[in-house]
Amino acid sequence: MTLLGERRIGRVKLSQLQAFLGLIVVFILACVFSPVRRGELIFLDPGNLTDILRQVSEKGIIAVGMTFVILAGGIDLSVGSVLAFAASLSAVMLMRGGYGTPETLLAVLAAGLLIGAVNALVITKGRIQSFIVTLAMMSGARGLARLVSGGSGVEIGYGAGGAPQSFSVLGGKLGQFVPVPALIFLATVAIAWVGLNKTRFGRYVHAVGSNETASRLSGVGVDWVKFGVFSICSLLAALAGIIHCAQLEQGNPNDGVAYELDAIAAVVIGGTSLSGGTGTVVGTLVGTLIIGIINNILGLNNVDANVQLLLKGIIIIGAVLLQRRG
């Protein structure tokens, strides 16, 4: 038993390292292919690097939540719709409800938590696979988003009769360079790291993902663990939705389509196994950054859109292979 445990730890460390390897390779490639202005690489411009962090922050936050679910052996397909619902609800509360920023944040996060709790309840009590339950919620939450917003985007305006200025902070910058969404993303990663590595809950998440039956027999409250991971995932999707709304100054019920796939891709590129049990949230951060850098460098070079799609596919497979080898 002990031996097996140690081997697993060894493998996790190795795959983590190799995920970094993928990031380093992509980073170097980006430097090589970066357009140059006045002898400087545009890719390495601090403004550009923080652009990347900002751009990936929403999907990154979702991917952190997805890491919990996938580690525990599940999947959550509803996150894109939950993002749209949270963004719409935020905009409606601020613009039509006249609520302040704190109330809006609390209500939207609570709504996110509730959606996750419903997912978990149906999965555990109904004994239905998470794939199908969250597929249903993907449709349900999209419907909710359209219902609260009346079907089309709700524009955020600040000042008299509009949203309180404090909300704009969530999509803005600290100083000249530091985007607030990126800070929230990094904070989420840090908290998730502590939760997964330093708490009993974190150990249980890994245990349930490795072997659900064995965990149940050894007295782990498997249902509670699932309840936890799905709640965290929806909560973080709602958080991403709030940021989405602040960044785009709009709550649009039709946004966030296919975000779940981007999040899953980031998690898997980061070395987390889709079959559960092994993986890290740092890997997810790395996977998110890899995708962000690829998008950025293709955009900076104004690469043809069709070629972009093709290259992105190839690079993602390359990154996963790099992280699997050895």
Partner: protein, 330 residues
């Protein structure tokens, strides 16, 4: 919303008529079936039923089309609309139209989700003697009474000419494109390029794709602004992508002196006309929604007057000067 109201009104009216007629064959499950079965014939004093098949109600532009069409239909005492939303699904739209055909509506208005998959059923409806008005996207062949749709190439050209005017014939332009391969994206690009090609001082330095989306528009505009020190104008194939460029430029402190133009000109609070009024966009070019023209043409056809085969509603340039007036008029 309005669609529901109208249908419900129709239902209520129908229910009373059903009791009056006491016809057993009318006791069919679908209320819309009742509506048209009763109204078939469209004789004096009776109502005409128009089946309206919408491709996807979730798109704001189409919601606007619905609103305009329902508003215009409301002004016509002899017209009743039966509404169906295909939710961007070709097979659902075929089924929707089949239902209308079975109900023997007096006229079909359809805005097809895609040309090819809808061609067969529309042809069947037309050949069964029901007049057909097609909106926005056409079908293959000419088995319809009237096609009403704006000319995206012309709109692109109008945007290009205005861009040249704003730039004084000289400057760097970023073109943010819609979904690759979609007809509006192709035509709005071609028209724009035709117009700016006449000015050798204007260069399109980047033409990223943002799939009509605001978030992607912002991301692509950021990369383009980062890669090019001097950008004078951003042209978005639609207003949401142009708004994305506005957000990018503002966040990067590059909005000063940068002109941003879009297309669509929706009048709602989330629309481009409002963004022009607020000074976020410099101009937007109306993509007319065809709703008013559809009802006008339907009335003509139902009154046995001749209707043209093709109607092309004109675009309009919406700038700060006329934005308020435009929003009020809608």
């Amino acid at each position: 919303m309005k669609a529901n109201l109208t249908t419900k009104d129709g239902q209520a009216r129908q229910n009373s008529r059903r009791a009056f007629l006491g016809n057993l064959s009318l006791a069919l499950p679908a209320s819309l079936l009742l509506t048209s079965a009763c109204n078939r014939g469209g004789g004096q004093g009776d109502k005409f039923v128009i089946g309206f098949s919408q491709a996807n109600k979730a798109e704001p532009w189409r919601t606007w089309m619905d609103d305009t069409l329902m508003k215009e239909a409301g002004k016509q005492p002899k017209i009743e609309i039966a509404y169906a939303d295909a939710q961007q699904d070709n097979s659902k739209q075929v089924a929707d139209v089949e239902n209308f055909l079975r109900q023997r509506v007096d006229l079909l208005i359809i805005s097809p989700n895609e040309a090819k998959p809808l061609t067969g059923i529309v042809k069947r409806v037309y050949e069964s003697g029901i007049p057909v008005i097609i909106l926005d996207r056409s079908i293959e062949g000419d088995s319809y009474t009237t096609f009403i749709g704006a000319n995206n190439r012309e709109i692109g050209r109008a945007a290009g000419e205005y861009a040249a005017q704003l730039l004084g014939g000289k400057g760097s332009v970023v073109e943010i494109k819609g979904l690759p391969g979609s007809t509006p994206a192709i035509d709005r690009s071609a028209g724009f390029r035709e117009a700016v090609a006449a000015h050798s001082g204007i260069k399109i330095v980047a033409d990223p794709v943002a799939d009509w989306l605001r978030d992607k528009g912002r991301e692509q505009a950021e990369a383009a602004l980062r890669a090019n020190e001097k950008i004078d104008l951003v042209y978005g194939h639609n207003d949401p992508m142009a708004m994305g460029a506005y957000l990018a430029a503002t966040a990067m402190n590059r909005a000063e002196g940068l002109k941003i133009i879009g297309i669509d000109g929706l009048p709602g609070t989330e629309g481009g006309a409002k963004a022009v009024l607020d000074g976020k966009l410099d101009a937007t070019f109306l993509y007319p929604n065809c709703g008013k023209e559809a009802i006008e043409t339907a009335v003509k056809i139902l009154n046995k007057e001749r209707a043209p085969k093709t109607i092309t509603p004109p675009t309009a340039r919406i700038t700060k000067e006329n934005a308020a007036q435009f929003i009020k008029s809608e």
